[in-house]
């Protein structure tokens, strides 16, 4: 399940990165921020959220367990 979650998050994020619909859009968000730049700033925030999700649901617990078993943890 963990591996699939990582693959799914990567796939969704890669698709979202290709915002072709904003390629020729120069609308200003909040009166000063170009739409394409605002979108990718939002993308960075979403990336932080995706990392939080992966840390919560796909953290490699077995690495710590393995070290603890060997007395190195």
């Amino acid at each position: 399940m963990r591996g699939w979650l990582i693959v799914a998050v990567i796939a969704v994020m890669v698709v979202l990165h290709q915002d072709n619909w904003l390629w020729a859009n120069r609308t200003l968000v909040f009166g000063f921020l170009p739409a394409g730049l605002a979108y990718h700033a939002g993308y960075s925030l979403l990336a932080a959220l995706a990392m939080w999700l992966l840390v919560k649901l796909a953290w490699p617990h077995e690495l710590v367990a393995d070290l603890e078993r060997r007395g190195d943890g």
Binding site: H17, L37, A47
Partner: protein, 545 residues
Amino acid sequence: MLPTIIVGVYLAIVLYIGIFAFRRGKAASSEDYFLASRSLGPWVFLLSLFGTNMTAFAILGSSGMAYQRGIGVYGLMASSSSLIIPLTILIVGTRLWALGKRFGHMTQVQYLRDRWQCNVLGTALFVLTAAMLVPYIVIGVMGGGEVMEALSMRDVAVVKNGVTSTVREPLIGYSLGGAIVALVVMSYVFFGGMRGTAWVNSFQTILFLCFGSIAFIFISKSLGGFDAIMQKMSVDPKLGSLLQRQPRIGKEEFFSYMFIPLSAIMFPHIAIMCMTAEKIGHFKKTVIAYPLCIMAIWLPSVFLGVIAASQFPGLSEGQANDVILRMLQTHTPTLMAGILGAGIMACVMASDSQILALGTMFTQDIVVHYTKGADGKSRLADSTVAWTGRLFVVAIGVVSWLVAVALKDKEGIFELAIRFAFTGFAALAPVMIAALFWKRSTATAAFMAVVWVAATMIGTWVLQSHSDAFAPKPGQAPVAIFQSLGGMFLRGPKTVTIFGYLPVMPMCLGSALIMVIGSLITKPPAQHIIDKYFPPKPTPGAVAA
């Protein structure tokens, strides 16, 4: 004069931090010198890992590129990195940390050499990696010399034929500035090792994380806000296209740029830094905060680079790299310009961890490896290993400065080499991923992938040099390098592309394919090696017993 004094104070603080760290460490231990005894706390780990990966390009280069290519630069380089880099730290970095803790590895080469029981592979990887790292160190010294020269400019009265005139001259010239920066970096890396470098990096990261926001606020205040400028730019026939991606960035180029951040985890200084965390839990804060840190630096830099196009129109490509300095000098008070200049210096001095990484690799992958006795341990005393690393750091510092002075006007060569290095490190990522996650992967396949990466880098370099003579100007359409092959190899203003995609994409895919096919057709690794690196998971019953 004031900016020079501020930068001087900054360099003194940095030196103090490094030497203070030296006093806290166990000076004689090689693990302490190279890895800070694997004891970095969560915040120092986050800040130093992030700072290690940010170079002068994050502020100077990104704004210069945004000046020329518009807002798309953020999506091209920053937002893709905000996903891929923390992801690789989570997936690969945590495993490198655990393996280092278990088997005592200090470098990627040590791990890969042992994982596949292959000396030749390790040495080939060392040579390739070191060759790709050296340009960074040289360009760091060059950048230091240039920033010192630019910040120390003053008016000097000159009398010629009885007539007095004023000329602008630097108080500290390029060679001296480069020497000062190299000496400071060399000193704290020499004394403080990884602990000193990590603390200095943390301090520098805080400085340049604040840099963007402070510059944004001051420049906005000076210009009376950005709304009017942006509205004017959006209807300007020439500048309006900077607020969108069409036609300055192609969709194929935009997509293939997503492969570049794969390089991060293959950079020796990043991989080695991953082994310095005290606990695996320290990675959690790092991977979550990483995208936010990228945004804090890149968003204001790209935005101000675009704004600069309306303030200083018509700059050449070389001049565009200074736009952020021009904006600061024009729109901020002298004191603030000096403080922000120190922030830029913090970025320029990111070569410290690369110098230490090269020293670590040389001592561990070459000196320690080739002095091993029958018991598998080096015949050299541990303190001798640490001092070898220190002396190597001094040698790299001196040689880098000599090269930087001798090739002052050839900066373009090193900048090109760095672009190639990003591609090369990214194309090596499948080798590391196969080593960590695929039991069946073999040394022969890994060696073939390394040869593929080296050969394709040389091939791209040849294509680049061959097409320099007819490269199109910025804004012009790419041209076919070989007419008979149509659009297969295209030459843009700066780079060669393959069907419009950057070479990094076919190189990465090729490297992954070679790993898969090469592993399947060659003899699998010995069972005891598989058991060592992929221990069977204990069953619940066995744990209870």
